[in-house]
């Protein structure tokens, strides 16, 4: 048994033993759980993939004369101004003004909120255009200017839903190709796409949220951020394997971090043909090895994690909840799965390669004594389920 304080003391002294979730299984197989739990202080987990429910608050400071922005665009991408005079929220999925979207199907969605966020972190010069109705205290009615992230007072990423614990494998049962947030899916089950780092993914290594909770410090695209709440659509109460691993989406994390400290290679605009815009983010979460049980759960392997195969041509859009079958991440990573007796080629939207890079970068930061762990101030709920939106008559 170890405490957060003991682990942080070892990190401060530069003696902490840190392994990635990719390395820990073989290590434990060799040393045994008991000895390894004594020895190992932290296991780093990570993921890199499109995370739609992301965005950032920006504060521009005040112009002379002052403006209270009522509508604004950054690089022609609409931002939300209903916050305060010069505070805005920029959402990752917002499209650019004038984008034909799916008018000429499938649309290309070359640039949008996710790309603005990437350009901001990369330090590029961006255009702000803002309008106002004008007030006695904020008389300016219009502003067009150019800025970089360094000109802003704050640029804080605030992501309501990141790091889905597990996710669907998308397939297309129809007779024509479809264009989804799970990528391009060819007709008649020709290909399938999945989106998870599997055995390296944060919440799959802590399936019962024993160490990851509100207040947990995370590595968010290179910045030291934290979990500020349970993520939206968090539903820890779904079905699990006998080993405790959720067999569907389940838990999510709401994350925040300082964008001025982020690295552009881990904040990447994504264009989904025929669907829209997203942002690809790299997230790392350290798991403190407080006891043997926590260590044992970090030893989860791709073969133990099952993902539901779902048809995105009809069942997903109609919200029927139908699952065709479950497949393991080991099968998915082989490049081919079997669905109802037929072989299907598999692609991934989540990058294991970049997730490994994140897990190693975080491990190095902890070993150097530059990243300490934070004890959660509240746990994530384990028993909630996802509620639907019901179309009701006016009461």
């Amino acid at each position: 048994m170890k405490t957060y304080q003991q682990i942080n003391d070892r990190i401060s002294s530069g003696k902490a033993v840190v392994l990635t979730a990719d390395e820990i299984m073989d290590y434990v197989d060799e040393k045994g759980v008991e000895a390894a739990a004594q020895e190992v202080d932290v296991v780093t987990t990570a993921t890199f993939g499109p995370m739609c429910s992301s965005g950032c608050f920006l504060n521009f400071g005040h112009s002379k004369p002052k403006i209270r922005m009522s509508e604004a665009w950054v690089e022609d991408v609409l931002v939300y101004t209903g916050v305060a005079a010069v505070d805005i929220y920029l959402g990752a999925t917002e499209t650019r003004h004038g984008d034909p979207c799916n008018m000429y199907y499938p649309g290309e969605f070359r640039y949008g909120g996710g790309h603005v966020i990437e350009d901001l972190v990369a330090g590029k010069t961006l255009q702000l255009f803002a309008l106002s109705y004008g007030t006695d205290c904020y008389p300016l009615r219009e502003m067009r200017t150019y800025f970089t992230i360094h000109d802003l007072n704050q640029a804080i990423m605030v992501n309501p839903r990141n790091c889905y614990q597990n996710y669907n494998v998308a397939i297309n049962d129809s007779e024509k190709p479809i264009y989804t947030y799970m990528g391009t899916l060819e007709a008649k089950r020709k290909n399938a796409n999945y989106c998870s780092a599997g055995q390296l993914s944060p919440l799959l290594n802590d399936p019962y949220y024993e160490t990851i909770g509100v207040g947990t410090k995370v590595w968010l695209a290179g910045a030291q951020g934290h979990v500020y709440a349970e993520g939206t659509q968090h539903a820890g109460g779904g079905p699990r394997t006998p080993g405790g691993v959720p067999m569907g989406g389940a838990g999510t994390l709401a994350l925040t971090g300082d964008m001025k400290r982020m690295r552009p290679e881990f904040v990447r605009g994504v264009s989904f043909r025929g669907y829209g815009i997203s942002v690809g983010l790299g997230v790392g979460v350290p798991i403190p090895i407080l006891n043997e049980e926590i260590l044992r759960r970090t030893c989860v392997r791709d073969r133990d994690i099952l993902a539901p195969v779902v048809d995105y041509s009809n069942e997903y859009p109609q919200n029927t909840g139908k699952v065709i079958c479950h497949v393991s991440y080991e099968q998915l990573r082989s490049g081919e799965i079997e669905v109802e007796g037929e072989k299907v080629i598999v692609g991934s939207l989540s990058s294991y390669y970049k997730a490994l890079e994140v897990a190693n970068l975080l491990a190095d930061e902890i070993r150097r004594g530059d990243f300490h762990l934070a004890e959660p101030i509240a746990p994530l709920p384990k028993d909630t389920v996802m509620k639907p939106l019901v179309a009701r008559e006016k009461p």
């Binding site: 890199f48 993939g49 499109p50 070359r110 990528g183 391009t184 060819e186 290909n191 399938a192 796409n193 990447r268 605009g269 994504v270 264009s271 989904f272 043909r273 997203s278 690809g280 990573r333 490049g335 080629i345 598999v346 692609g347 991934s348 939207l349 989540s350 990058s351 294991y352 390669y353 970049k354 490994l356």
Partner: protein
């Protein structure tokens, strides 16, 4: 020069003035080359591009290349119709399932690094359509 039959990938760039000359006809008829065109954009009165495989003896391929060079046509024999920007690629592997020839492939099973073997690319452009990060791009 050996008599062994080999295959080479060429990308031809046609400036405006030469875009209507029957170069491919002469490659086949006069230089015994088997030609397989992957992709072409040759519009009258505009510059054009042509990406093709030529199969023949090394001597015939060399003669064909010399013939093409008598025109104001640029030959790029390293095949650059599709470019992959390794800095933009996140190695997610979305493209791998859509690549019909395996030119894009998982190069390392452990790290899931995506590799690109240009020689196997037939320039179907599927990777350009599916890559969310615009890591693959066409020269034309």
């Amino acid at each position: 020069m050996s008599e062994t039959v080999t295959k080479k990938k060429w990308m031809l760039f046609f400036p405006k003035c030469d875009s209507e000359k029957p170069i491919i006809y002469h490659l086949v008829k006069d230089h015994n080359l088997v030609v397989s065109v992957f992709r072409a954009k040759v519009t009258p009165e505009e510059e054009g591009y042509l990406v093709l495989d030529v199969t023949g003896t090394e001597a015939d391929i060399q003669r064909g290349m010399d013939f093409v060079r008598t025109f104001d046509v640029t030959i790029n024999d390293t095949g650059k119709g599709v470019n992959r920007d390794t800095n933009r690629c996140t190695h997610c592997g979305h493209c791998v399932a859509h690549c019909p020839t395996g030119a894009l492939y998982i190069a390392n099973r452990a790290t899931r690094e995506v590799g690109y073997n240009e020689a196997d690319c037939i320039e179907c452009l599927a990777c350009i359509r599916v890559c969310g990060y615009a890591a693959c791009a066409s020269t034309f």
